[in-house]
Symmetry: C2
Subunit: 197 residues, 2 copies
């Protein structure tokens, strides 16, 4: 059985990442969606190990000290991080790991694990992203303005990614994402060894 | 319109390359199968520009002198080569170019154009390759033995390829080949520029 690979999926808020990832689950088997750890309190309906691994601050700091995170950050007084353990266990089971993560976290992981595949999902245009953010009806105009600015800042770092997927239609974006994951398995040194032996 | 890319497809005789490439044509549009130039005489039914570009020796040598080939070789007294011109014209039209080519030719092209994507198609096992070569019923046992040895020599160079596809079933091999081509378009610097602008 081939070992799984880790894929970072980054993209601006409103680009449609969660829709794409849901559709990807229908198409590909053996996927593990990494669950973050956090020190913030669970909200109603959130389950430990499903939505987050809920840790207290002492445990979180202990995990940091033991280098148990692929990346971590503090945000409005709470810690958030990606535990290594579940990612590695999934890859050992032959599952591909999806990390849905911010640009800063993606950078941290790339430094620790340069072999991780980084995918940037972009909107077809900035106007379309604005339309989608407005259409959700969840954010104030001020918040949308901030999200758009953040998106442009993120896009400015796009060159460091390995692959760029433009979410024009969900179907096409999922086809491309699936292709990237399949192609990455065709690249592997494991396969070359298999052929040579 | 995005520019096309060039893909070298190499694999041992009997691996099922032509079946895979035929099935790929059903699946992907905008493909150009590179037609080789040769100085050998046309066989009955062979058309100029379709099966080969038939050139006389003087013209072939002139093309070599003008650096008009991506690769060329002499084989049993005849010249064979891949003309640059048709490859470049196809990419400019936005078509992906498929070069079905031997290991030596693939090496020559890689030196001239390191950006060309190299794909190696391998049999599921050497026993299976032998079964397929024997099953074709076209080669003598001696010729099959030589083909198998050549296949092992080719496989020994597999590490220099970018992607490895194992032809267990045609359907799966075509899915992987299609994925590799799609993924390569997602890698392009062109796309990163599009996102950043």
């Amino acid at each position: 059985m081939a070992k799984g690979k880790t894929f970072i999926i980054t993209g601006p808020s409103g680009v449609g990442k969660s829709t794409i990832l849901h559709a990807l689950m229908e198409k590909r088997k053996n996927l593990y969606f990494s669950v973050s750890a956090t020190t913030r309190d669970p909200r109603p309906g959130e389950e430990d190990g499903v939505h987050y691994h809920f840790l207290n601050v002492d445990t979180f700091k202990e995990w940091i000290a033991r280098d148990e995170f692929l990346e971590h950050a503090e945000f409005v007084g709470n810690y958030y991080g990606t535990p290594k353990r579940y990612v590695d266990e999934a890859m050992d089971r032959g599952e591909d790991v999806i990390l849905d993560i911010e640009v800063q976290g993606a950078m941290q992981i790339s430094e620790k694990r340069p072999e991780v595949v980084r995918i940037f999902i972009a909107p077809p245009s900035w106007e379309e992203l604005e339309r989608r953010l407005t259409g959700r009806g969840t954010d104030s105009p001020e918040k949308i303005r901030k999200r758009l600015q953040r998106a442009r800042e993120d896009a400015a770092t796009a060159r460091v990614y390995d692959y760029f997927i433009i979410n024009d239609t969900v179907e096409h974006a999922v086809y491309e994402l699936d292709s990237v994951m399949t192609a990455e398995h065709c690249r592997s040194a494991e396969r070359a060894d298999q052929i040579q032996s």
